[in-house]
């Protein structure tokens, strides 16, 4: 362990410093705010891409860029221990890229008090980078909360319809989820006897002396439901569509795209490897609730008339697949889940951004009142079709999503074939609502309401300021879809080094 400074420190510190610089730049005017904030988003992205290329751990599947600092809680077993492994690396890169896109989009938006808005977004970005870079479980949680608090503020202050209620509901739900998962993490800390929150130490301790059956049962239960609330596991998902419906687009992009993956990441990286017995004890719960996400929420998604609500529900629905991948407990299933998390993060962020662009042009989120937008905005419609195809998981633009879901489905087939039959209906469901939304919004005749809107303000196609963030997301999506090996080789190494995931593979 060394005390030196690695590039991970910069990925966390730069957005936070830039956040305060942005506040200060607010006095200098809009261009200064834009320059400072975009720098704050771009530097971590560049560093994350460098980390992606340079990643070469000493041990296969191990951590790279490891540093460790004492912040004063060493006596409790807490230190700022940073590093990346094959599981966190793709998510780390994804969060940097989504952050850049969200930041670029926010910087050109017409939000009131732009500098404060970007302040919140930058703090959130710093927290997100910290979440995936932390080896210390305490800081993993800490950075999550750091990223979560600005979300509430952004929903409450800059949100749309029902923002007060949505912010309150999100705050209470997510605090409950966070507190329950915190209790689970403390349970691990105390019951392992490691007297450390360090993931590596904890892992070594628990490998030598696993938790007893009762302890692992309740500790995993706490983590499952705590994280479950944060990932919007059915039926604890009701905050999500409401919150995303009300959230300003950049906040929704970062939350739905990245922050929500915290819970799944926690399960994959922490809960399952540390408590290998837990999944077995809770597997029926996981499978049934995850199917609830896929089927029940899927059907609710189909019934949505509001574009943004529909996206909110669809993001809840897709989390079900990730839970199923985890339940399968194999390298393929969990790897598929991670790949899907990355792909879904990029896709859903893109969709939320595009839906706001659509709103600017049609002045509504009601899909009934739209139609024929492709005539006025062909580029926008092309982007949206790509993103929606990806979200459905069709091979083609959404290869990345496709690989993820494919891996999950294959692993479910090996795990419990009947689950696959139920889960596969989700593909049909998402195809139905996805394609229907495309046809409603972009094709067909222009609706009367839309014609009304056009009289008052001319509808233009995407500007370059809008195209750049969308392109960034789409390019990475294509890249991962075409070259999944760039993600999966290190991911597989990391997962195979976890006995709990590799065991299932070896047993066959």
């Amino acid at each position: 362990m060394n005390d030196s400074v690695s590039l991970l420190h910069f990925t966390i510190a730069v957005p936070i410093i830039a956040a305060f610089a942005t506040l200060w730049a607010g006095k200098l005017g809009r261009p200064a705010v834009q320059i400072v904030s975009i720098t704050g988003f771009a530097i971590p992205t560049i560093l994350a891409l460098v980390a992606w290329i340079a990643y070469s751990p000493e041990v296969a599947g191990g951590y790279d860029f490891v540093t460790r600092h004492n912040t004063g809680l060493e006596s409790v077993g807490i230190s700022l221990h940073l590093g990346l492994n094959g599981i966190s690396l793709p998510l780390f890169v994804m969060s940097a890229v989504v952050g850049l896109a969200a930041g670029l989009y926010a910087a050109q938006s017409k939000a009131e008090n732009l500098s404060r808005y970007l302040f919140c977004l930058l703090i959130m970005q710093g927290g997100l980078m910290g979440v995936f870079a932390s080896i210390d479980v305490f800081f993993f949680y800490f950075f999550h909360e750091l990223a979560l608090i600005p979300t509430f503020v952004m929903v409450g202050v800059w949100g749309g319809r029902d923002r007060g209620y949505a912010a309150m509901k999100m705050t209470i739900y997510l605090t409950l989820g966070a507190m329950i998962s915190l209790a689970g993490l403390i349970a691990l800390y105390v019951k392992s006897g490691a007297n450390s929150f360090d993931l590596i130490t904890l892992k070594a301790h628990l490998a030598a002396a696993p938790l007893s059956e009762t302890v692992s049962h309740y500790a995993f239960g706490l983590l499952l439901f705590g994280f479950g609330i944060l990932v919007s596991l059915w039926p604890l998902h009701t905050w999500a569509p409401l919150g995303y419906g009300a959230a300003p687009s950049s906040a929704a992009m970062l939350h739905a795209g990245v922050l929500k993956k915290f819970g799944l990441y926690g399960l994959i990286q922490i809960a399952v490897p540390l408590i290998p017995g837990g999944v077995g004890q809770w597997e029926n719960w996981i499978v049934w609730l995850a199917l609830g996400n896929v089927v029940v929420v899927g059907l609710i998604t189909m019934a949505q008339r509001d574009l943004k609500q529909m996206l909110g529900y669809s993001s809840v629905m897709h989390m079900g697949y990730a839970f199923l991948g985890i339940a399968a407990m194999s390298v393929l299933g969990v790897g598929g889940a991670v790949l899907m998390m990355v792909a879904h993060g990029l896709t859903v962020a893109l969709l939320f951004m595009l839906s706001t662009m659509i709103h600017h042009r049609t002045q509504t989120f009601e899909m009934e009142e739209m139609g024929g937008l492709s005539k006025k905005a062909p580029v926008l419609s092309a982007f949206f079709v790509c993103a929606m195809m990806a979200s459905i998981g069709l091979p083609g633009p959404g290869l990345a999503n496709f690989w993820g879901e494919f891996g999950i489905f294959v692993s479910i087939w090996e795990y419990k074939p009947w689950v696959l039959f139920v889960a596969a209906t989700g593909i049909i469901i998402s195809a139905v609502y996805g394609l229907r939304s495309i046809s409603r919004v972009f094709f067909g005749n222009e609706s009367e309401d839309f014609l009304e809107v056009q009289k008052e303000n001319s509808v233009t196609d995407m500007t370059w300021a809008e195209r750049v963030p969308a392109l960034i997301l789409l390019v990475l999506l294509f890249f991962i879809g075409l070259f999944p090996k760039t993600v999966t080789s290190s991911l597989n190494e990391a997962l195979e080094s976890e006995p709990v995931y590799a065991k299932a593979e070896a047993g066959e």
Binding site: T71, R116, F138, E145, G164, A167, I172, T175, M179, A183
Partner: protein, 510 residues
Amino acid sequence: MPTETLKSLGDIAATNSWGAIYPELILGCLALALLALEVILPKFAHGAIPRISILGQVLLLGYIIIFDPAGCCNGIAFGGMIELSGTSQALRIFFLLASIFVSYLAMVSFENKTLARVEYFAITLVVTGALSIMAMSNHFVMLFVALETATVGFYILVSYFRQNTLSLEAGLKYLIMGALSSAILLFGIVLLYGAASNPAMAGSSLDSMNFQNLRVFLEANPTDTLSILGMLLVISGVAFKIGAFPFQIWIPDVYQGAPVSTTAFLAVSSKAAGFAVLLTLTKVFSPLSDWLLPLLSGIAALTILFGNFAALTQRNLKRMIGLSGVSHAGFLLVGVVAVQTVPEATNWVLFYLFAYLLGSMAVFCVLAHLPKEWDADLSLDDLGDLAKKNGFLGIALAIGIGSLAGIPPLAGFIGKFLIFVAAFKAELYVLLGVGIVGVVISIYYYFGVIKAAFFEVWSFTDEDEKSDAPAVLPGQSLTALGRLAIVFAVGGSIVLGFFQGPLGSWLSGQ
């Protein structure tokens, strides 16, 4: 006989190490000096007296922190009357820090009022000294004398706004409840004294009010009914001080009516002193832990739930802060219960107290700067548009409230986190569950404050906002000193959330 008595008195006097309590002595002298200055200084210079008081305290605090951070003379002194330890040293600094904030708050809130002023600052200093001695007392006589010194001082401080009926009502309530609790405490002490000095009992002692002697006796007689009853009454008396259920009944009215500086004083210092005593007494009563721990655990759970549920519907700011303080007392009680099985948790309780001090003081400083003739009437509506009218105060309020709510990355979160770790180590799962429920409930009302101060502002309709703007903007009385105080509280809350280094190692280094 007389020679013998004289000799024993001489022996006791030989342990009188006045140097050990120099900070308290200096506080007392400073109080007298303030009173003298009022006579000496010409009338127009009276405004300087509060500043002199603050300056004196800051110098004293600086001296202690720089030259004597660990306490110069730890150990038992004054014939067993007091015991100085790392904990009492930490609390001494705590009380001094709180007292500086209280003096500042008083300075602000007396600005436009015709009142005798100097006495308030002098009494504040005396009470601070008394609380500090209370935290180091090792003998029931010392404890009671210190407690009464502080309580009598508080009678005056609570009803200081004598033109305001709410303040007078609060004073009366505090007087009656305070006297009642002192009586209960005293009765408990007497029972313990009687039981423990009974020569027929094993382990009895002539000086049975001394904590070490009492502990020896309780170890020998862990099932003595009289002692258990005495213990119950003593704990009840202390529970009144910390505002624990079911002795929290006075809190909302008194906190609302008292001047904001006194509210802060009660909420922070008085509560912390109660916990200091509780930490000492639980060690003394540990032979009775079969009774004590279930009792304290039950109180802790009910206190958390009561505080949070009662605060949910409050719109009056000071009542709300008071009731949220009740729930903080509950969390601290969880820590105290955990200390019995996890000794290192003492430092975590102290950390929580420091975090609570900084968060509370940030909030109280903001309240003191809101334009309202009587701060007892402050309600959530008075926060409307605060963030827009005075961004500095708005952010200070948000961070203070956030720290109280235990939101990372602020100090309050680390405090709560450490308490939870302690509770888990001590296997207090029910209390932990109650704590989590409490945190989630508390988010609701803390969020209400943030919402009132922020969310109604940056909305889309701000058209007719100018027409009904109040004549006085919040924060007009904010001076450089005030900014410094707020920056200290807010900055401390943030820094302790990210980097606990100095405070953490200082607390655990002792």
